[in-house]
């Protein structure tokens, strides 16, 4: 040793002297919070753009919580766009071998239920049950091309784990009467994220109803899509049954983990996001969603008691991949159903076009 303990003490003192002159920024926690607050948009407590006070009141009844809305909530479109963009890139890489899909096409849960969300003020506790978050959950629906995945965005009391919240909704079942789920509602589950995969541990009740074989593959993708959308990750999903890595689930080989199936193969090609099923809205009613359409065209109609009260058609931005659509309709108070249908490229010779529908109430 060529130095003394005295040298060490001098170094220690000089470092502490130097450090003691540093006065840390007293606003730094606020700066950090501003940056960490940029959660995936559906995990943020939110204000729906279409949700007028009336609609929010109706929603409040529907989910049994009170939504804390006040003037401080500002829409945060830029953040949403950023996140969707980055998702598009990630999933674009992941689906790079699918020539019929583009990055934008494979965006996970690509449209918010109403296009806007917002942050809550700092003083709203995140765990407060009066704050709700939106989770995506996939279900099955019958289409002319057989069963396909369809999605609901659902408001649930805010909790830490988006994937488990979404799975809880998925297992509990859909609100839309056109959707179903083949999973037993008593299925127990937990989700763990690793660096390059998502692990879903399931315990299927022994005396429950198994998923029918013909729906097995779609049921597995239902689970995969729901968890991936909730976590905004497209990493493979590894399934554990009763705590052990599963080789097979509902007749599907899941031993190597399940990767995301191409959307055009498993999803219903027309998906309405707004309004949500049973929602109370005010006129004019904004209707929106996403669709993968031949020549980008769709037809819509509004029915009341089975009678068409209004109809029209529109175009999405791009054809043959998932792309957003939206339109507005003026309606008198009452209950309605909106049906959005892809135009039929086969002129009636094919299996028929896919469509999606929602029932809603106009309150004023």
């Amino acid at each position: 040793m060529s130095w003394s303990s005295e040298d060490e003490e001098r170094l220690r003192r000089s470092l502490h002297d130097e450090a003691s002159r540093v006065v840390p920024d007293s606003d730094a926690l606020e700066r950090i919070r501003e940056r960490t607050r940029r959660l995936p948009w559906w995990r943020r407590p939110f204000a729906w753009s279409l949700a007028t006070a009336t609609a929010v009141a109706a929603l409040t009844v529907a989910v049994g919580v009170t939504l804390n809305l006040d003037g401080n909530m500002q829409p945060d479109r830029a953040a949403i766009t950023d996140e969707l963009d980055s998702t598009g890139q990630e999933s674009g890489e992941e689906s790079g071998d699918e020539s019929d899909e583009t990055a934008g096409d494979d965006t996970i849960a690509s449209s918010p239920p109403s296009g806007e969300s917002s942050d809550v003020p700092d003083d709203v506790p995140r765990a407060d049950a009066s704050v709700i978050m939106t989770v995506p959950a996939y279900f099955l629906t019958e289409t002319p091309a057989g069963h396909r995945l369809a999605r609901e965005f659902r408001g649930v009391p805010d909790r830490d784990d988006a994937a488990e919240a979404a799975l809880a909704v998925m297992f509990a079942g859909p609100v839309d009467p056109d959707y179903t789920t083949p999973w037993d509602p008593e299925t127990e589950f937990s989700v763990t994220e690793t660096d390059d995969a998502i692990e879903v541990a399931l315990t299927v009740p022994e005396d429950g109803d198994p998923v029918p074989e013909e729906l097995g593959e779609l049921a597995v993708h239902q689970l995969v899509y729901t968890v991936q959308a909730a976590l905004q990750r497209t990493d493979p999903v590894h399934i554990l049954l009763d705590g052990r890595p599963a080789d097979e689930l509902w007749g599907v080989d899941v031993s190597d983990g399940v990767t995301r199936a191409p959307q055009l193969e498993v999803r219903q090609l027309v998906q309405i996001n707004d309004p949500t099923e049973g929602m109370a809205v005010s006129s004019p009613v904004g209707i929106g969603g996403e669709a993968a359409l031949f020549e980008a065209t769709y037809q819509w109609r509004i029915e009341q008691n089975g009678v068409v009260v209004d109809e029209g058609f529109g175009q999405t931005e791009a054809g043959q991949r998932f792309s957003p659509f939206s339109f507005e309709v003026d309606l008198d108070p009452g209950e309605y159903e909106v049906i959005v249908t892809a135009t039929d490229p086969s002129g009636g010779e094919g299996p028929g076009p896919m469509s999606d529908s929602r029932t809603f109430t106009v309150t004023e």
Binding site: D7, L11, R13, S14, L15, A19, L29, I32, T36, D161
Partner: protein
């Protein structure tokens, strides 16, 4: 079970309260410029927030932030190496007549000399004599063996010896 942001927010606040100032001081010793140090530490906290789910406990989180601060300071240092070298060459300000000031200037001379050391020697010395970490913890933070920590510390001290001895 997955854990998430409510926990993460609480953890950030707790760790911030107890450690933010210390981390900024640590980073300032490593990078010289306090505003850069603040950025480095804030980046590390934001990263911690993302990772909280995997870390889950405060002790592991504090270690994570410390390691992150050291590594981030190193990469900032690399980008600023040229500018820093020029600054370190400048003469220390003339001492004032006051004894405390003299001591401070001597201390600053040591710190200035420290900043001219190779980055790993500087890190090893700062982690040991400012952060008071054990050799094992320093090895973990720097991502090197304990033997390497010893050798960096030893070389760093030897290089500083002349400066330290000026400090009577």
């Amino acid at each position: 079970m997955a854990r998430g942001d409510t926990d993460a927010d609480r953890a950030i606040t707790e760790i911030y309260t107890h450690h933010y100032g210390g981390f900024v001081r640590l980073a300032t010793l490593l990078v010289r410029d306090q505003s850069v140090a603040e950025e480095v530490v804030q980046d590390a906290f934001v990263e911690l927030h993302k990772r909280w789910r995997k870390l889950r406990d405060t002790h592991a989180a504090v270690s994570y932030v410390r390691t992150s601060v050291v590594h981030r300071s190193r990469s900032v240092g690399r980008r600023r190496a040229v500018a820093a070298r020029h600054q370190d060459d400048r003469p220390i300000d003339a001492p004032s007549a006051e004894h405390g000031a003299l001591q401070a200037v001597a201390g600053q001379a040591v710190v200035a000399a420290l900043r001219t050391l190779p980055v790993r020697q500087r890190e090893a010395l700062v982690l040991r004599y400012y952060a008071d970490l054990s050799e094992g913890d320093i090895a973990d933070v720097m991502g090197i063996s304990r033997g390497a920590v010893k050798s960096h510390t030893s070389r760093g001290m030897t290089a500083l010896r002349a400066r330290l001895e000026e400090w009577s």
